[in-house]
Amino acid sequence: MSDILNANLPSENIEGAWGKTVKDLSNLSIEKKKTFEIIIVGCGLSGSSAAATLAEEGFKVKLFTYHDSPRRAHSVSAQGGINAARAESEDRKKEVIDQLFEDTIRGGDFRAREASCQRLAELSSNIIDQCVSQGVPFAREYDGNLATRKFGGALVSRTFYARGQTGQQLLYGAYQALMRQINLGNIELYTKRDILDFVIVNNIARGVIARNLIGGNLEIHQSHCVVLATGGYSNVYFLSTNSLKSNATAIWRAHKKGANFANPSFTQIHPTCIPPKDSYQSKLTLMSESLRNDGRIWLPKKQNSKENPENIPENERDYFLERQYPKYGNLVPRDVASRRAKELCDDGFGIGYGSKGIYLDLKDSIKKNGLKEIQAKYGNLFEIYERIVGEDPTKVPMKIYPAPHYTMGGLWVDYNLMSNLEGLFVLGEANYSVHGANRLGANALLQCLSDGYFISPKTITSWLANNNDVDKVKIKEACREALYLVEKKIKSLLSKKGNKTVDYFHRKLGEIMISKCGISRNRKDLKLALTEIERLNKDFQLNANIPGSNSGLNLELEKALRLEDFFELSNLMIKDAIEREESCGAHFREEYQTKEGEAARNDDLFSHIAVWEYNLKKNTHIRHSEKLSFKKIILNTRNYK
């Protein structure tokens, strides 16, 4: 194994290892910190929390976002909650930490590092303290203590929440901390900027090339290190639950400059979303999974049925999850539910637009528990559903379908959250760290805040303390080179005046990706997808229409720049899915399943993180692997039958 894959993991017992690591990290005096400039890209939970903390410690921070305000980052959309291992008494502390650790590792199907998951569980309790002291209005119990709920199939109640808007409230907490530092003059905020390339000198990140979205002009920004907190890439599928501007550009550009990409094919599909209803549909909205507690999932037994659901008698309905999983029924895990739905829809049993939908029927629960009780439980979800679909789900069965929701894959980072490019730190959904092959519900917000508030400020300080030699001449050269490449790319895009829109191509790319590299995958289709995408990309290069110029606002150019990167990323996602010849977590390869149709992991060959290196000279990718070892927990398989 080459040294680019040294994850800098703690060598001894992982319990309490982070605390010991922090003691060994170098620190800097406040005076010294003032001499360092840090660029942070992205203003979601991890970016805002890191910016506020680093600025408070004395560093000069420049924060970049494509939004008009940091309050709009996609973290704002997270609904469910944030996990934390909090114990009422000191002697139960280890027990609750171990539980969260174990659920995180098992949820990820043993494809994440033990040491990082242990640290996540250990830091979780402090994160709640931090948020409360900032004024995050979490739900409370009658006695005034914080309320919790069970989430994502966990057996314990440890998810803290603020109604269905936990992400919004946590983001506003970090946003306010950020705004406070701006007021104190410690952060310079650059809104409406896209980061299109990086300044890399001697394998160290020293700056970025930003495009001012209002003026269209390019800017060079230098710094001592760069932090990427730019979120996930579910929008490669075009239709996903992500905000429309969420994109892979910054991490992909960093990858092309040498930062390795880990497990790009690991994407999470959420089973209960509102399905598309027209070709101009632009996004999919998530409906809480809790609906599966009271809703029965079914499809007509007849293929291509156009019948109204109310007119289909009981004996012509197939309650397929109850039929296939008598024990768990409608409550089988996310990926199992998604797969079974897809298979039947592919076989022509699906309902609604494009036959990509299944029914979630609340009729029996309403009969049993009364409309009032069901309304009280899900009233706000019914409102959202009715607004979007125009039907009352207490009268007509809800239509749902799985949708891409979260990407576990991301830039490879070591234990210090630094990529193999020195001085390039990657936080939150943009990195590959704790979620393995499938993220545990309510762990996304937790990871962002632990990366941003507690881990990266320590490791970044230590790295800067040991890397203060700056090669000014070479940096200037690298800036010029990066700027030239971006200018060339924009010029080439703006020369395309064909007859098809950027959205046309993005939609087509999404269709290929969701059908062949989505809920389930097989070698033949994946190979086919590679050729289809290559053909589509050629069509894009020849026939796309990117109107306007580079002076002033140009939203189509913004989209085109992002789409070009999605094209390249999709290629790597597919390659990664082909090479991983096993099923694990959200990655389901049809060739690798048990007799019962369950995922078959192959620990002998694939108990590792796939790490992809880009070779600039040959324009190819090389697959490395970082072996995973499990000491605290024993590898085993799940069973829901």
Binding site: E56, D68, S69, S77, R86, G135, F138, N183, F454
Partner: protein, 243 residues
């Protein structure tokens, strides 16, 4: 049942903040009743691009009513006719066949037009920068349960904290006042035990900034509450005035 309609649009067009704006008319055919108004604008824009006409610029992102990016006047009303609904959550089934839909940007001095329907709401961020936070740093926070908070108090604080910063309240007010916006933030923080002692100071700073940014005084006609997509009560303005 016919699932498609035709729509006529009267849209404000303005190339940048310095240029003069004007209205332009467009007709869009075969619009599905099942898509949102923003998706209909996407559809219109795709048509315009293939005809080499500059697409209509509007702000948007999450398209599920939580990021606060979208927002313009729809037939004169901020976020359109549906109560408690952002522009992105307004569906075409709320419009009649051949209806004329007039779209204009927020008309507020403190929100200069960037292009067409997109405005610069940086002034709202400046209100928060002036003092819309608690003075807490990272680390060393006391245990989250050390100060109990009643569920009613926590929920009331939460309700005011749901403001998405879209600017509709300002656009709806004849004085272009941001009173509801700052009242919501002051009520979010000032109702919690952590924020009570700093309440007065915070209020002073934010109100002061409101004047600097050129927002007007409260007009007392409650239009802000009527157009707020998160239905935040204007009673909080009276609450704020008593701080």
């Amino acid at each position: 049942m016919n699932n498609f309609i035709s729509l006529n649009f009267k849209v404000w067009r303005q190339i940048d903040s310095k240029s003069k704006g004007y209205f332009e008319y467009f007709t869009l055919e075969k619009v599905s009743l099942n898509i949102s108004l923003l998706e209909a604008l996407d559809q219109l824009n795709e048509n315009l691009i293939t005809k080499n006409i500059r697409p209509i610029t509007f702000d948007h992102d999450c398209r599920e009513g939580i990021c606060g990016s979208c927002g313009f006047l729809i037939n004169g009303q901020p976020h359109g006719p549906k109560k408690g609904t952002t522009s992105c959550q307004l569906y075409i089934r709320n419009f009649k066949d051949n209806a004329l839909i007039t779209l204009e940007p927020w008309r507020v001095k403190s929100f200069p037009v960037i292009q067409d329907l997109m405005v610069d709401r940086n002034s709202l961020d400046k209100l928060i920068i002036s003092g819309g936070y608690l003075n807490t740093g990272t680390g060393d926070s006391p245990d989250a349960n050390s100060i109990p908070i009643s569920p009613e108090k926590a929920f009331s604080s939460f309700e005011t904290a749901t403001c998405i910063g879209c600017g509709a309240c300002v656009a709806g007010c004849r004085n272009s006042s941001s009173s509801l916006f700052i009242a919501a933030k002051l009520a979010h923080l000032g109702q919690l035990p952590q924020g009570i002692s700093s309440k007065k100071e915070r209020s002073k700073r934010m109100r002061n900034q409101m004047a600097i940014e050129g927002f007007g005084q409260c007009s007392n006609n409650l239009e802000c509450e009527a157009v707020c997509p998160k239905e935040i009560s204007a009673d909080w303005i009276s609450w704020m005035n008593k701080i």
